[in-house]
């Protein structure tokens, strides 16, 4: 027996990592994300030049930075996507705790970059926004709690996660960062919905959000101005929104031509919040529709794959991750198209940004890891006659 074994080539028990990854990963989503990143670079070539000129930097300084951070983000995404769901959960929980502490420390060590809201840590070469990293962490933690609550005799995870959500939303509102607060709340709401919330309570939550929005409208001039500007039938062309709308109209179906756009020179946020306006002006409706289609592919494919998922935690975490990603993109584009009140939110993977790009890469990596093809006990179902 012994010699038969001795000296034989070692055989690994499982499938090799890379082929397995390639076989099980959602290649559509992967390609869509990569495409979005490339589009971001393409638009950055146009949109970030004015900013570089203003700051007396070489014209493509921000493109180079974007390329660097984007590559890092893609690497982070690929690495994360290779993790098992369990490992994702473990690391995410740790990450969540770190990010949460970072969030709490903001009022003491943070900086507002003169924008009136304490959201960032300045690291010299880049700035880090803890809430960007908190978002995927929170999704994972909340999904874990909600999934645990589904076990017979499990902990009251729904209440715990809701309280956690409320605390984070409260901190974010105090910063104030209504956009991230809304995203967190939305992410939790979606997971709660999928985990089987009663519709009555769901409407209760919607009502609560409406009351909160009303309170914000009545107490904050800033919020009231944004909403009034949205409700007003006339658009003041001197506002960012006015420029953005005009840029979309100027672009028409095929755009005014590469580098010919004007809006990037008038909009201070052309390279971040209003990158879609730059895209619409220079490349026309074609590119805009392509971008929308790419986001739709990511969200819808992820959701469809999660329909087949049997593990409640993976299902919920994936849903939350895909939804906040999609909603962020939708809000950004909806604002530019005047479907929503003005709210500064970046277009994930396309807008210029350092830490947010890496956080986005990690989040998408987690989504990819969660939506990988796994044996789903289909045979067992068949045997028990519960086949679909």
């Amino acid at each position: 027996m012994t010699e038969m074994v001795y000296g034989a080539a070692p055989v690994s028990g499982g499938e090799p990592v890379l082929p397995k990854w390639w076989r099980t990963i959602d290649r559509w989503t992967l390609s869509a994300v990569t495409l979005l990143f490339l589009i971001g670079i393409l638009l950055g070539l146009a949109a970030s030049v004015p900013l570089a000129e203003k700051n007396n930097l070489p014209p493509f300084h921000y493109v180079q930075k974007q390329l660097m951070f984007g590559s890092l983000a893609l690497v982070a995404m690929l690495l994360t996507s290779m993790l098992t769901p369990q490992l994702v959960r473990r690391l995410a929980v740790v990450g969540f705790v770190v990010a949460f502490i970072g969030l709490l420390g903001l009022p003491f060590f943070g900086t507002d970059f003169g924008k009136g809201a304490m959201r960032w840590y300045s690291l010299g070469f880049a700035s880090v926004q803890p809430s960007e990293f908190l978002k995927p962490g929170f999704i994972i933690v909340a999904a874990w709690m909600l999934a645990a609550a589904q076990e017979v005799g499990g902990p009251p995870g729904r209440a715990w996660s809701f309280m956690l959500c409320a605390v984070i939303v409260g901190i974010l509102v105090m910063q104030p960062d209504y956009g991230q607060a809304a995203l967190i709340l939305f992410g939790w709401g979606v997971m709660w919905f999928v985990s089987g919330a009663s519709l009555l309570r769901l409407f209760g939550l919607v009502g609560l959000v409406a009351i909160g929005g009303l309170a914000a409208y009545n107490t904050s001039d800033h919020v009231a101005n944004r909403i009034n500007g949205y409700l007003a039938s006339d658009l003041d062309p001197r506002t960012q929104l006015g420029y953005a709308t005009n840029a979309i109209q100027e672009g028409g179906f095929f755009g005014v031509g590469v580098g010919e756009g004007r809006v990037k020179w008038s909009l201070p946020d052309a390279h971040t919040d209003f990158i879609i306006a730059v895209a619409a002006e220079e490349y026309g409706l074609m590119l805009v529709l392509l971008i929308i289609a790419l986001y739709a592919v990511i969200v819808l494919r992820s959701l469809l794959r999660l329909v087949r998922e049997r593990d409640p935690f993976i299902r919920l975490a994936g849903t939350g991750m895909a939804c906040i990603f999609g909603v962020q993109a939708m809000i950004n584009m909806g604002v530019a198209a005047r479907l929503l009140p003005a709210k500064g939110m970046t277009l994930p993977f396309v807008s210029y940004g350092g830490s947010s790009l890496i956080a986005g890469g990690i989040a998408i990596g987690m989504l990819l890891a969660l939506t990988r093809t796994r044996p789903q006990g289909g045979i067992g179902d068949l045997l028990r006659g519960r086949a679909r």
């Binding site: 999928v194 709308t245 109209q249 739709a296």
Partner: protein, 593 residues
């Protein structure tokens, strides 16, 4: 401690009875229940995930659709949105009864400065001071280099001035679009039109509001954006108005008067065809109200609707008409005119002694104060006051000139017998010339009241009846006699059968009492007497006719000739044909065989 129920109880009890450990059974049961709930959860989650996916698909489609709609709309030139309370700069035109323009708008520009955008403030101030001598260079330079970010320099400019400012080439000098009110006829009908001024203004537009006259009384209607292209048509006739002001101005000079007022009114419709007050002003540059001196001497004071005067003997016809209407007298009734007539401390005299008695007709023709006072005593205070009320002589006229509201008649505080007597011949009771015109229109149109109006109307007014048609006809005949054989012979205009009454009233002193040498001379007339169409009231302030051997001040020699000239000029303009009676062929019998 929290007790958990043992499930399935029956099997566990059996196992216990058999002495087996029931934990395995319990765990198996738990696993089964878990599986069931997981399946239920998963099925629910499946459907909810589909719902979620559908929502996202729809939302993405919506964003795409919206982008498509935006991309397919034409980009409009970025335009600053007008706020909710935008300034409406439009103002309707004003025309005369034949559609000739009295007031219109002209595009112009206002000049304002963004001092921080000036390249060379010193040069800008220097050039501007050269262009506009009324601007002070030193002060402008101080403003331009001061902390202000915005200041107005001029409200209106001529196109040449605008071009010159543009040629200075300063980016900080900016033009604001304006529409200004223009009165192309200058001072013509100045008191009717009044004037307009800028109210709220910004760099896009300025609001024009009426400050006086019809511009003020019709301000809301003229500013109504819905009626911007619908001109306001007045009853004035531009040619008649021109003749009125022309003749009145000459008459004022000839008669050495310090002021004059004239009202020409249609007796049936109440339309004011021409109305003037001299001295006047140019409404394009309306003078500010005087801050010192007599406000009634200012050119902006409207003597015809605002000025209240004792209009003297012109009132006698009202007294006589009322007495005839009441049946107290008829034109042939003889009235005692022995003078002087003493009543208490007052003494009433006539201009000349007209003998012991006169017929009512002669009382008017000769203008006897004593005769009129006696008739007034027959009427009594109560009925006299009621009659004046009925004629509308005791309250301000409703004419559409904003100043007319202040033209409220001055009534005697107590209506004693002596007041009744003086009021009967137009003393101690002050009204505007327009009131008088309305009163004469009543007599001329057959006895019904008319309200004077400045709006064009084509139908007669049928106001309340004041006196019977017969009384009106008899009164008119008396007025005609005044011109043919009485105090106003100079007022006869061949072919136009003028009927009228003179009135010469001493001017009251501000402190009380009357001036001896200062009079208000009025001639109120109706023409043509056989089919009355128009009433004309001419009032001269302190006239002296120095053309004769000795100066005279009576209305017959001052106001009446001016009125006659007015009728001579205006009647043909109003398409009134002169009627010349055929020559009587005395002693020749026309026969035919």
């Amino acid at each position: 401690m929290i007790r958990r129920p043992l499930r399935p109880l029956a099997r566990i009890l059996q196992a216990r009875a058999r002495g087996e450990n029931p934990d395995a059974i319990e765990r198996e049961n738990l696993r089964l229940r878990h599986e069931v709930s997981r399946d239920a959860d998963r099925e629910r989650a499946e459907s909810r995930l589909f719902v979620l996916g559908l929502c996202f698909a729809l939302a993405f489609a919506g964003v795409g659709l919206r982008m498509g709609v935006l991309a397919s709309t034409k980009p409009s030139e970025p335009r600053v949105a007008q706020g909710g309370a935008g300034i409406v700069a439009t103002r309707a035109e004003i025309q005369d009864r034949r559609g000739r323009i009295l007031a219109t708008n002209l595009e112009t520009a206002a000049l304002y400065v963004h001092p921080h955008e000036l390249v060379d403030p010193a040069r800008a101030a220097r050039e501007l001071a050269k262009l506009f001598p009324d601007l002070d260079e030193a002060r402008m330079l101080a403003d331009f280099t001061g902390p202000r970010k915005f200041l107005w320099l001029r409200k209106v400019m001529s196109p040449e001035q605008q071009q010159a400012v543009h040629d200075i080439g300063e980016p900080g000098l900016l033009f604001a679009t304006r529409e200004m009110r223009l009165y192309p006829n200058g001072a013509l009908a100045a008191h009717v039109l009044g004037g307009a001024a800028f109210d709220r203004e910004d760099v896009r537009a300025a609001e024009i509001i009426g400050t006086a006259g019809v511009e003020r009384s019709f301000d809301a209607r003229l500013r109504d954006p819905g009626r911007a292209n619908d001109p306001l048509q007045l009853s004035l006739d531009l040619t008649a108005q021109t003749a009125m002001e022309d003749v009145l101005a000459s008459g004022m000079t000839l008669m050495n008067a310090k002021g004059a007022a004239g009202v020409l009114m249609d007796v049936h419709t109440g339309e004011v065809i021409a109305i003037a007050s001299l001295p006047d002003f140019d409404p394009n540059a309306r003078p500010a109200p005087p801050t010192k001196g007599d406000p009634t001497a200012s050119p902006i004071f409207n003597r015809s609707v605002q000025g209240v005067y004792e209009l003297g003997s012109t009132f006698k016809i009202f007294t006589v008409a009322q007495a005839m209407d009441l049946g107290l007298v008829n034109p042939e009734t003889m009235i005692d005119t022995k003078g002087p007539m003493v009543k208490g401390r007052h003494k009433i005299t006539d201009f000349r002694n007209y003998g012991p008695e006169l017929s009512v007709d002669k009382v008017i023709v000769k203008s006897s104060n004593i005769g009129t006072a006696r008739i007034a005593l027959m009427i009594g205070a109560e009925r006299q006051k009621a009659f004046l009320d009925l004629m509308g002589l005791t309250e301000a006229t409703n004419i559409e000139i904003s100043e007319a509201r202040s033209g409220k008649p001055l009534l005697p505080p107590r209506w004693s017998d002596i007041v009744t007597m003086t009021v009967s011949y137009g003393h101690g009771f002050s009204t505007t010339p327009l009131h008088l015109a309305a009163g004469y229109a009543m007599i001329a149109n057959g006895g019904t009241r008319v309200e004077p109006t400045l709006l064009r109307r084509d139908t007669p007014q049928y106001g309340p009846r004041v006196v019977s048609a017969k009384t009106a006809a008899q009164s008119l005949a008396m007025l005609r006699h005044v011109v043919t054989e009485g105090t106003a012979k100079v007022a006869e205009v061949p072919g136009y059968q003028v009927a009228g009454k003179t009135g010469t009233a001493d001017k009251p002193k501000p402190g009380g009492g009357y001036y001896k040498e200062k009079v208000i001379a009025t001639f109120a007339s109706v023409f043509p007497a056989d089919a009355p169409r128009y009433v004309l009231v001419v009032t001269l302030d302190e006239p002296v006719n120095t053309m004769g051997r000795e100066p005279t001040r009576t209305a017959g020699s001052t106001a009446a000739p001016v009125a006659a000239e007015l009728i001579r000029r205006i009647a043909p303009l109003l398409d009134l044909k002169p009627r010349i009676d055929p020559v009587q062929l005395d002693g020749i019998t026309l026969t035919s065989n």
